[in-house]
């Protein structure tokens, strides 16, 4: 595989016709890399990955996964194509048990495979295994994020997109979540990460895009981006001092 796994070209998307939030964004993610999407509030970061996931109507541009066009594929078929998405909030089924959350999310797998895959998720997230019979709504914020990640990973996606997984978590949990993401990347997963917590995200990211008003205003290796004074001043602002 030589080309990028995920290729987004000049994507224009928005909830209302004629009211675009994503205004011509172009980005790509290669195999086994973490791509970070940064930007000020309202820049369209969440809308961009939701549009890629088929949850925000796309008016023009294209999204390709592994060279195959998926721009107009309905959201519920994205998982089958290998694209998993973890929304920032409301990312579990609150009244269903932890185990049933995983089971209902594993519908695209072969029936015989599901029980084994649930066990693998419980090995990966032992905290969840202890709470398997509890309703997901009773979990703490950190445990919920773990369940949301396990829910997405259970189908062995090629690309995992996460919308601000550190939002509302304690610093200890943030560290844990990011360490786990780095581990998944080492295992070969491609990760697209939208984050407000720029420092933590850039620390584990390979490349980053800075989105402003729905367009990519800057891109580059994650390691150097944090030290880029123009980027810090323009787009990360005081967040650089305040982050973490």
């Amino acid at each position: 595989m030589t080309g990028p796994i995920l290729q987004v070209d000049a994507l224009v998307a928005g909830y209302e016709p004629g009211l675009s939030i994503v205004r011509g964004a172009t980005m790509q993610a290669n195999a086994a890399e973490i791509v970070v999407i940064l930007g000020p509030n309202g820049a369209g970061k969440s809308s961009l990955i939701k549009a890629i996931a088929g949850l925000v109507p796309v008016t023009s541009g294209s999204v390709a996964l592994d060279g195959q066009e998926i721009t107009q594929v309905p959201a519920h078929q994205m998982v089958r194509r290998g694209l998993a998405f973890v929304p920032q909030t409301d990312n579990v089924f609150p009244l269903m048990s932890v185990q049933d959350n995983l089971r209902v999310s594993a519908g695209v797998l072969a029936r015989a495979e599901i029980a084994g895959r649930i066990d693998e998720m419980f090995q990966m997230f032992p905290d969840l295994a202890r709470q398997r019979r509890l309703p997901a709504g009773s979990l703490s914020g950190g445990q919920r994020q773990m369940l949301a990640a396990a829910r997405a990973l259970i189908v062995r996606p090629r690309v995992l997109m996460l919308d601000e997984p550190s939002a509302g978590l304690s610093p200890k949990f943030v560290e844990m979540v990011f360490a786990q993401l780095a581990e998944m990347r080492r295992a070969g997963l491609t990760i697209v990460l939208v984050e407000q917590n720029a420092r933590a995200a850039l620390a584990i990211g390979d490349r980053a895009y800075v989105l402003v008003e729905g367009r990519v205003a800057h891109e580059g290796p994650a390691a150097s981006l944090w030290h880029d004074p123009i980027i810090a001043e323009l787009y990360l602002g005081q967040r650089k001092e305040g982050a973490r």
């Binding site: 996931a53 088929g54 949850l55 309905p74 959201a75 519920h76 078929q77 994205m78 998982v79 089958r80 998405f85 929304p87 409301d90 990312n91 579990v92 089924f93 609150p94 009244l95 269903m96 049933d100 089971r103 209902v104 999310s105 519908g107 695209v108 709504g137 829910r151 189908v155």
Partner: protein, 302 residues
């Protein structure tokens, strides 16, 4: 004190509860109050009655099964009626509700269900007249079972049918893939799409099951009471009350809600007077909702 009201209450509560399952599913999954649900019940019953007639015309008169008032034709016709009512609900969704739902304003869908309700009822009155009719005109003797309670063989069988249907429905919702997907969709529609749940499949299952159970409830009313075009409309408010009382989205809740409504109405008839039956049922509904605003099995929205 005569305990007969217990049997009467459980019977009418079963009819209400079976019907309320469809209402609670439609409300929690499709997010609207379907006021045509009572008419699904009536249509299902008339469809079953028509099929019983067709079977009778084809195979000749059949003897009732043991002590029951009906024979195998009602069982076969009832099963076919349940399928037909599910399909009718599905067809109504395709031509009416789905188009309006796509516009995203649930109040328009609710008003459309009012219109559909009236149209369906008028069609029944036009086709079958508003005169009551029956699956069987034979009179059954109620058997004494102790403590002053009497029950007919039909009533025993129909109570058994309710237990089987409710248990099957509960197992379906909690153990089957489609049932779990229906639960997931009712709890978080956007996430359901993200995890790969086919919304169209969930919507189809909701209409098919709701319609089939409405038909079963209607057959129960038809066997125990009588068949009229207005039979569903009469049960509409108690069915909504049962769904709300049990907690929107909960199948066991809808049935328990139905039983509470049925028993309190029957108790009111015996203890206070028949004219107070609905008032007592609704006072109980309000009292329960004051203590548990989301119903017995309902969970507060986060």
């Amino acid at each position: 004190m005569n305990l007969q009201f217990l049997v009467d209450g459980v019977l009418s509560g079963s009819m209400v509860g079976l019907g309320a399952i469809g209402i609670t599913l439609t409300y929690s999954i499709l997010r609207f109050s379907n006021f045509a649900h009572g008419d699904f019940m009536a249509w299902g019953t008339y469809a079953t009655l028509t099929l019983v007639g067709v079977i009778g015309a084809t195979f000749g008169a059949t003897a009732p099964l043991g002590p029951l008032s009906f024979g195998w034709p009602l069982i076969v016709a009832g099963l076919a009626g349940m399928v037909l009512t599910g399909l009718m609900a599905l067809a109504l969704d395709a031509v009416l509700f789905a188009r309006l739902r796509a516009r995203g304003q649930s109040i328009i869908v609710v008003m459309a269900s009012f219109g559909a309700s009236m149209a369906l009822r008028s069609l029944l009155e036009f086709t079958f007249t508003s005169r009551p009719t029956y699956f069987s005109r034979s009179i059954q003797m109620a058997m004494p079972v102790g403590w002053g309670i009497r029950i007919t063989p039909d009533q025993i069988v129909l109570l058994g049918m309710t237990v089987v249907l409710v248990t099957a429905m509960h197992l379906f919702m909690t153990r089957s893939r489609t049932g779990r997907e229906m639960q997931a969709y009712s709890q978080n529609a956007a996430l359901a799409r993200v995890v790969g749940i086919d919304v169209a499949r969930v919507v189809r299952a909701t209409w098919l099951l709701g319609g089939a159970l409405a038909c079963a409830a209607g057959i129960m009313v038809g066997v125990i009471v009588q068949i009229r075009p207005l039979m569903g409309l009469d049960l509409l408010l108690p069915m909504f009350a049962a769904a709300i009382l049990g907690g929107i989205g909960s199948v066991p809740g809808a049935v328990l809600g139905g039983l509470i409504i049925g028993l309190s109405e029957a108790g009111a008839v015996q203890l206070i007077g028949a004219e107070w039956r609905q008032a007592v049922a609704f006072v109980i509904l309000m009292a329960v909702l004051l203590v548990r605003p989301n119903g017995i099995f309902g969970v507060r929205e986060r």
